[in-house]
Symmetry: C2
Subunit: 431 residues, 2 copies
């Protein structure tokens, strides 16, 4: 198949690959610049990843956390639905496999690589089919179906072992995603599904949260980690720390203590992989093309101004970059995105710009409806005040006022009634 | 695999197959009866089919029109996620293939078959893969993805023929579903997507609505049909009546005048099949087992009290029944469902019950944001007043106050801003 050659025209072309927090903010920051901006993403929307777990647990519909890119950006941006698979840093070309299968060789004057992170199975990619990750909306909707189907399959199970396995949920990785998912499934058990499964004793539902390290939320301060762990246990989550997964199959997982010890098997019909983060593959291609190194997570080690060493026209930001080993959180990507837009604008007008400086606003993770932990520049919040802070910050970072209103209304309903409004299994049972 | 034998216990067991308008109302009507009610459905939710087209056109999220069965029914009902594949009317057993693949032989004392209708390709089942129907939430979400992807693929097309094909949408069948879909895609072209596709001239989008008959909305009165056709054309829909589809392939359709004439080809990347209705297959199995006839749409011809001739314990209702050739609309199914619950309750207490009498409240179909036609017992409404009536009736029939509020809010937003909040393609482009 002949590739489409797409060279920049007279105007300075900025290609932004990835439209998450980093890429979207880089693109938006160029709204008034004299540039042609082309945004490339594998999906047609900007995904608010922090609330993905709420799609997976039937609280929010996908559309509320995923505004269409074209709606956010508008007419002065080109959008290409496709996957960027390679970069030729010397010739300034990005290879994009487009939505129709064709290949576009997209030339650029400036390039922003914001492709984010992917999941790592530590070399055991065969585990993926039994323990999918939760990185895209498609993952979240599929997980929602798996969770709901597990309860239905438990209800019709005729032997105790099968019922037990269907009622067991294993979440690997006790970072914010794992903690949030575990808390929500525990809430389904405790509240949402009560009184609706005459066939089941919901007390038999087991939510198991594992992590190879000795603590939940490893990067947080000790008091917040302890609070989180204690609260999760109170909510009914079976927290198993210092346990490393050795194997995953269609019936469950095998794990053993991280520092050595006998293996144990956990039969679980639903396993979610929320552990192991790696930079997305395009980063490695770029690094190879530019002759620079990546760190052990595959992140490209960038200069102070977020550029690739030797290639000042290429910026790498967000989870896929290593800028002084900043954490792979939304705030980093967002700030870097804005910075990069400023840097490009400055270049075009010949102005100077200072290096990127990260303003650490802290981190937060939610545990339950009335409880979240937040570490905001040394201020430690937990419980209800933590949850309010968490809610305010997340609403602020959502794109679109309508989405903010819808998400807030969704939260109010679910917190108030315990019900989940998106309890849908899409695919009918097929005989 | 050994089947599970599930016989009724001491209490009178009512098995309800299908949880649409008919089945759900039959089940709910038995809430206070001294019965064990088992509801069987291929999906876990009650689907409000009339608004499915709004999921397909990104206005509403699936969850808002699909409350979970267990949430609606509560603790005093058994719910089985599975497909009923056969009925043994003599031994009173329904075969169910359950969500885990196992077979349950579900015995009953009373049976309510409310499995609805399926699409008919008039013997050309090979067309289905290129022209899917829109009957389930899964269909609607997939159609949404197809519509949105078509615009993205048009934006990257390099030859005019491909671009044109991607911008052409063909809807086969000008009943309410076809009319509503066509109107919405035309609205996307006219309003929603304006200013967001610099690569495209949206005026080139073609929405083609075909029907083998000479009129849109065939069962409606002439003045409403004419109004609808005129309005659709004003909105930019290319209405081609008296045209019968001869073939469907991966590039489009071939059609010819119904009363004979040369064929024409229409290249369309997105084809939707909204024509041809048949009773769902279980009905044929039941009819065979009970030794009774079905009509040419596969519907079982029932007695005045909705029962199967010779089997007073088996009720067939909704689209899948022929009760004096009543129309296959939601209201029929709903009223029959309530009636059947009363009939079963009356039987248990030895009371007599009158035959089912349908109260014809009329029919309605929407055309655009400010226009709908309604034929309410001789009162013909159109335009804005028709739309208000349409909206009120649909909200009234939705299950759940939260869903009503959410749907109304969704409508207000989309009508007010022209935006669609669920413009999500779930599956990432995969290289």
């Amino acid at each position: 198949m002949t590739a489409i050659i797409d060279r920049p025209g007279a105007r300075h072309r900025v290609v932004v690959v990835g439209a998450g927090f980093g890429g979207l903010n880089a693109a938006r920051g160029l709204r008034r610049a004299d540039t042609e901006v082309v945004v490339v993403d594998r999906v047609n929307h900007h995904l608010f990843q922090p609330l993905l777990y709420q799609v997976a647990t039937a609280i929010l519909p996908p559309g509320d956390i995923a505004p269409a890119l074209r709606e956010v950006l508008g007419e002065n941006y080109r959008v290409i639905l496709g996957e960027a698979t390679d970069v030729d840093a010397g010739n300034r070309i990005v290879d994009v496999i487009q939505a129709d299968g064709s290949i576009r060789k997209l030339g650029y004057d400036s390039l922003v690589v914001a492709v984010g992170s992917t999941d790592s199975y530590f070399g055991n990619d065969g585990w993926r089919q039994w323990a999918p990750p939760m990185k895209t909306l498609d993952d979240a909707v599929n997980l929602r179906g798996r969770i709901l189907r597990a309860f239905e399959r438990a209800a019709i199970a005729t032997d105790e072992a099968t019922r037990r396995r269907e009622m067991t949920f294993a979440i690997v990785g006790a970072g914010p995603t794992g903690v949030e998912l575990a808390g929500q499934i525990a809430a389904m058990r405790r509240r949402t599904l009560r009184g609706q499964y005459p066939e089941l004793n919901l007390d038999d539902v087991r939510v198991v949260l594992l992590d190879a390290l000795d603590s939940v939320l490893p990067p947080y301060t000790e008091s917040l980690r302890d609070h989180t762990e204690r609260k999760l246990r109170e909510l009914g989550v079976d927290v198993r720390l210092g346990m490393k997964v050795q194997d995953v199959d269609d019936q469950g997982i095998v794990y053993a203590p991280s520092d050595g010890g006998p293996t144990e098997r956990l039969d679980a019909a639903t396993v979610v992989w929320a552990a192991g983060v790696r930079a997305a593959p395009l980063t490695g291609k770029l690094a190879a093309s530019a002759g620079v190194e990546t760190d052990k997570k595959g992140r490209l080690v960038v200069q102070e101004d977020c550029t690739v060493p030797g290639h000042p026209e290429v910026f790498v930001i967000g989870d896929t970059a290593n800028h002084n080993d900043l954490p792979g959180v939304a705030e980093t990507a967002l700030q870097q995105g804005k910075y990069v837009a400023k840097a490009i604008r400055a270049r075009l007008t010949g102005e100077k710009i200072t290096p990127f400086r990260y303003l650490d606003l802290g981190t937060m993770a939610t545990i339950s409806a009335g409880d979240a932990v937040a570490d905001v520049r040394g201020l430690h919040l937990r419980g209800l005040i933590g949850k309010v802070a968490w809610a305010v910050v997340h609403l602020a970072f959502l794109v679109g006022w309508r989405n903010r209103a819808a998400v807030l209304a969704g939260w109010a309903w679910t917190v108030g009634t315990g019900r989940r409004t998106q309890r849908v299994i899409l695919e009918p049972v097929a005989s």
